[in-house]
């Protein structure tokens, strides 16, 4: 389980997180919603060590993540699908997926992982030898998701996985998320599409300019008047 306590993060003089606390229990989908610039991405980046924390603590299954080298975090079973996809543009789709399995000690499972990824995203199978940089935005999102799954994570952090995807694919992505959830994978989901995020999540947090302003059962928040007005559009 993931536990964040009083986390503060700054970029120079910009205080992006002003002391947030949240936790994600095993097997949960927890959704983090908030306006642009609220600090959602920053939260995820701090968890996986891409951004240094100023103070506070992050523990994951008993490991102190702030003391763990950033490259090591993935070996603890945590994968992060970054905002903006960040595929390796000059590698083929297949090589991208193989990179996802980089942290695995035992590389024999890579073939099976590939098959599974192609099962989720048949489109990628067609394009397995195309350079990822020339894929469309949606295709790249699929690569990013597939790549994260390659490390057999127990917990996945997702940063706006539906951004830029066609309605059909958004549904697909969300059904994959629920499927992963069904398989017992823990998910921390950051989404602009708050309606959908809240409808699949168990619990949710609302982040406003670096502070958590609301938290609770996802369904409750979905019907909360304030949340509706601010994030769901009248």
């Amino acid at each position: 389980m993931l536990d964040i306590k009083d986390l503060k993060v700054s970029y120079g003089a910009v205080e992006a997180l002003k002391g947030i606390s949240l936790h994600v229990d095993d097997g949960e989908i927890v959704s983090l919603i908030g306006a642009n610039g609220a600090g959602k991405t920053t939260t995820l980046h701090t968890i996986t060590g891409l951004v240094p924390a100023q103070s506070g603590s992050i523990t994951f299954n008993g490991h102190d993540l702030l003391a763990t080298k950033s490259g090591k975090i993935v070996t603890l079973g945590m994968a992060h699908i970054p905002e903006g996809r960040h595929v390796f543009t000059r590698m083929t789709v297949q090589e991208n997926l193989e990179m996802g399995a980089f942290s695995l000690k035992d590389q024999s499972g890579v073939g099976k992982g590939l098959e599974r990824a192609f099962e989720y995203f048949p489109r990628l199978k067609e394009r397995r030898n195309q350079l990822a940089g020339t894929l469309s935005g949606g295709e790249q999102q699929m690569v990013a998701m597939g790549r994260a799954l390659m490390s057999n994570p127990t917990t996945i952090l997702m940063d706006e996985p539906s951004m830029g995807l066609s309605p059909l694919l958004v549904k697909d992505i969300f059904s994959i998320i629920t499927m992963l959830h069904a398989k017992g994978i823990t998910i921390l989901l950051v989404e602009q599409n708050a309606k959908m995020a809240l409808s699949i999540a168990d619990r949710a947090y609302v982040l406003e300019t670096g502070r958590i302003t609301m938290e609770g059962d996802a369904n409750d928040l979905l019907h909360d008047e304030k949340v509706r007005r601010a994030y769901l559009g009248a």
Partner: protein, 416 residues
Amino acid sequence: MKKSILSTKQSYLVCALGVLALFLLVMAVCETGLASPYIKGIMMTACIAVIMTTSLNLTIGVLGQLTLGCCGFQAIGAYTAALLSKLIVAQGIAMSDMSRFLITIVAGGAMACIFGVIVGVPALRLHGDYLAIITLGFGEIIRVIIQNLKFAGGIGLSKGQQGQALIGIDRLANLYVVFWITVLTVAFLFMFGRSRYGRAVKAIRDDEIAASASGLNTTYLKVLVFAISAFFAGVAGGIFAQYIGSLNPAMAGWLNSINYVIMVVFGGMGSITGSIVSAIGLTILPELLRAFSDYRMLVYSVALVLVMIFRPQGIFGSWEFSLSKFINHLFYRGNGPKRGRAAVAVEGTASTDGVASTEDNATPDTAAGADDVSRLQDGVIASAGIAGTGEGSAGVGPDPNAPRDGGAMQEGDDRR
């Protein structure tokens, strides 16, 4: 909102007065004999370096294109000026030394400018390190060609000798005149930078595709910048030729060009005042290091690495020293200028311009009236040649891997 006590016209005036004061100071030390030929020589070299560096900064800092061929253009300007000067004498054309000097340096600049266009049109289709290497190549080609020109060696023209240094160039460069040429260069570059041209050029640096999608003829503008840089490099070359009195083709080599690139980066990319300070500083530094004689270059290289590590954005970053702002600051110290206003305006706000953001308009609530526009454009006057020091706020180079690396994770960069 902090109001400047100086209007635009007044700040121009302040700046002009500052330059004038500096000139009087130079004149005073020269005329009273306080300055030895050594000091005068260094001042002359510094002026040449300032012209080279500020104009190179237009290409490297403002346009964001790395070139390693500036000394090729300097050499073209130098040889053109030197040979023209000799030709004028050989043809027995009567004119004063001053007009000969001015005519030849302008001719040197013009010739370099022509070559700038010839080189720029094809070269500027490339970017980054590829452009660097291609301009380096042009510099080397220029060197080899000059080396093989018969009329550009020995005493030159019809009695020239291939492969020899060009000697016996009349040493017409006068420090006072060169001072004013330097001031004009800096003023030109400043005015250019703070106009629609400067804006367009900076837009190309930030995102060339978006710039053309905003209706800018990027090719034309890039070549224009290149040609302007080449022109001033040629002028600097013309001055150099008539200061030093002899030329050799090795001056066009890439090692010399790199020296000026170092000055630009050292001063802060995009900052004219930074370039001025670093050009002067790096001209004087090796002289100060003469005391270390044998270890001079070792000390220099270590110093360079240390500066790059501890002040990677250069001494000025993208900040500009401004005399009028400085004066403003003196008068307003009591009132305490509001620091760190709205969250959006703090840190990193130092735009490349150093004007709009750090001046009045940084406040979100600026209902910038028509009156403000002038200040927006010109509130900061780089006072030519006046060395000022100060902390610039973290300027971010045009490089996408700049310190704000985390920013690369934001959407918008994903396909880079």
